[in-house]
């Protein structure tokens, strides 16, 4: 078995197990820290797929940004010293059945579809190609994304501000 296969299975195991911990753990902080391992292992999957720029972006944006935001959210909205940190689930059995059904359908579709496989081009670096595509083919979505980020910045700053009553 080649090393990349072993690496894939190890990373997939980390992703699935820590995602299960995220979903089923009663403690919100434990879920947040478990999400850390999921995001890191997904970044490793990107490296296996030879997408180095996406892997670094994943670490910088998800682990360095979104996860910190989520942990801030947990700490600002729950009393850490209290048992309030524990949360309850609702409709566990129906939602497990629904999710397993969706997963089964998706896996069935994956294996029954004839994908248009092509021999992958062994490109040495992706950063140059991504930069060229972003400023040529995908220029309009790129600019729209920058405007969207500005709108999200202003909007979330307005939302999070504590509004004084009268």
């Amino acid at each position: 078995m080649p090393y990349t296969s072993i690496l894939f299975y190890v990373l997939a195991l980390i992703i699935v197990v820590s995602a299960i911990i995220v979903v089923f753990n009663k403690n919100v902080i434990h879920s947040a820290f478990s999400l850390f391992f999921t995001l890191f292992a997904v970044s490793g999957i990107y490296v296996l797929l030879k997408a180095d720029f996406i892997a670094i972006t994943q670490i910088m944006v998800y682990v360095g940004g979104i996860l910190i935001l989520l942990i801030f959210g947990v700490m600002l909205t729950t009393k850490i010293t209290d048992v309030e940190l524990k949360t309850k689930n609702l409709n566990v059995i129906p939602s497990i059945l629904f999710s397993v059904g969706i997963i089964t359908i998706l896996i069935f579709v994956v294996f029954s579809t004839k994908w248009n496989l092509k021999q992958a081009v062994e490109n040495e670096e992706t950063v140059t190609q991504i930069g060229t595509l972003l400023l040529s083919t995908y220029l309009l979505p790129f600019e729209i994304a920058s405007v969207l980020l500005l709108v999200a910045l202003i909007g979330s700053a307005m939302f999070a501000r504590r509004i004084k009553n009268d």
Binding site: T38, V61, L106
Partner: protein
């Protein structure tokens, strides 16, 4: 056994299902957000895998960059909403937020 496209797609499907379960079943608003992040990650894995195995060059990777940008914007705005929810209802349980004005 050589790792192919199907392995990555199955991994993405499992991650999607787990995120879906978090969105349906958990009552804490922040855990619902974590479920959304899991689903977006599953979509990203699929995009990059298709980009690698279907001869698309780096087009799929560029699209996954846009997905990451949307995830950042969504997380920031949604956490602002969750903080407002906590200010108004003293809880982040989304079942308790069932009135439009208190």
């Amino acid at each position: 056994m050589e790792i192919g496209l199907n392995h990555y797609l199955v991994l993405g499907a499992v991650l999607f299902g787990l995120g879906l379960f978090a969105m349906i079943s958990r009552r804490n608003a922040i855990l619902v957000l974590m479920g959304i992040e899991l689903i977006l990650n599953a979509a990203n894995i699929n995009l990059v895998a298709f980009s690698r195995y279907c001869g698309l060059g780096v087009n799929g990777q560029v699209v996954s960059i846009f997905v990451i940008i949307l995830a950042v914007a969504e997380a920031a705005v949604a956490l602002g909403i969750v903080l407002n929810l906590y200010n108004n209802f003293a809880s982040v349980d989304i079942d308790e937020a069932n009135t439009m004005k208190d």
